[in-house]
């Protein structure tokens, strides 16, 4: 019997299938590979309306503004994109319109630095995990010929991340 077993091992070794240490001893080790995969988080909060209040019609330009906060997970790139508002102006670049029941009141936006929150143009940023605040300002020229009334518009800000 002893002789027969030796032959068998030798035969298997020749095939190269069995490790040389096989059957001599067994040691096990585990490697834990843990990955917590979470989706990046993002939120946007607009801090109030842009309200010009009651303005006496005149050939003057006024500015009013508000701010909004963007919170995106740390190191996650994001973009902020402004739409054209509810009353798109087909005739002039980034001119947006407030509307009353009788007419339009055009306005342009400005923001941080040179940003003018152009219609549909993404502004890039990188998340920090805490709120980043951005200004939004609207400039309106109240022309003397403007029909008195209540004008309004709503802009949607889209945060993509």
């Amino acid at each position: 019997m002893k002789k027969l077993r030796l032959y068998t091992v030798a035969a298997l070794a020749m095939l190269g299938v069995v490790p040389s240490l096989a059957f001599a001893a067994t040691q096990t080790a585990t490697v834990d590979v843990n990955l917590v995969a979470i989706a990046p988080a993002g939120s946007i909060t607009v801090n109030g309306p842009i309200d010009f209040g009651t303005v006496i019609v005149a050939d003057s330009t006024l500015t009013a503004g508000t701010t909004f906060d963007v919170t995106v997970s740390n190191n996650v790139p994001y973009t902020i994109t402004f739409d054209a508002g509810l009353h798109i102006s087909a005739t002039s670049g980034n001119l947006r319109n407030m509307m009353s029941t009788t007419g339009a009141l055009g306005y342009y936006m400005t923001g941080l630095g040179t940003s003018t929150w152009d219609i549909g143009v993404p502004v890039n940023g990188t998340g920090t995990g805490i709120a980043d605040s951005f200004p939004i300002n609207a400039n309106v020229t109240f022309g003397a010929g403007l029909t008195p009334g209540s004008y309004s518009d709503t802009i949607t800000i889209t945060l993509a991340y």
Partner: protein, 164 residues
């Protein structure tokens, strides 16, 4: 050996759950923009006639009245007088006349009680005023000149124009 394989497979499955492309997620916010526009307003109310009463033709007289102006708060305006319906631009004279136009007596309207600043085309108008939204009262001071030989009742109408 089997245990190692299982852990790696689980990890790979977890990785595959991360979105393949960046910026697949969005959040939106809305900004409302509002403005209410109004026209400035102004009103003028004259308190009463500038009545010199009965004055002998060789004598002078003074009289005074006032008018109220109400203009939108903070809104600039000016007040102009036209010199009256019988104003003679060539001689810069304001005249009260009778119905037939035979008798006339010259008068002058002033901005001040000292009667130094003539109000109207013969002098200056008030400019650079600012509304308060409430009544602002202005005094109008008149001087009647002597006009020997004229008799009877004479009158004139001066128009006050507030420009705002």
């Amino acid at each position: 050996m089997n245990r190692i394989k299982l852990h790696i497979a689980a990890a790979l499955m977890a990785i595959s759950l991360i979105p393949a492309s960046a910026m697949a997620l969005t959040a939106t916010g809305q900004v409302n923009i509002t403005a209410t526009t109004v026209q400035p307003t102004a009103a003028v109310t004259v308190a009463g006639a500038l009545a010199f009463g009965t004055v002998q033709d060789t004598l002078t007289a003074v009289a005074q009245t006032s008018f109220d102006v109400t203009v939108t708060n903070g809104w600039p305006y000016s007040i102009a007088l036209d010199g009256g319906a019988n104003y003679n631009a060539a001689t810069a004279q304001s005249l009260m006349k009778d119905g037939g136009g035979l008798n006339a007596r010259e008068y002058v309207l002033y901005q001040d009680a000292a009667r130094l600043n003539v109000w109207g085309p013969a002098g200056t108008n008030m400019a650079g005023l600012s509304g308060t939204g409430a009544i602002q009262t202005y005094q109008l001071y008149g001087s009647l000149l002597a006009a020997p030989g004229t008799t009877g009742a004479v009158s004139d109408i001066t128009t006050i124009t507030v420009t705002y």
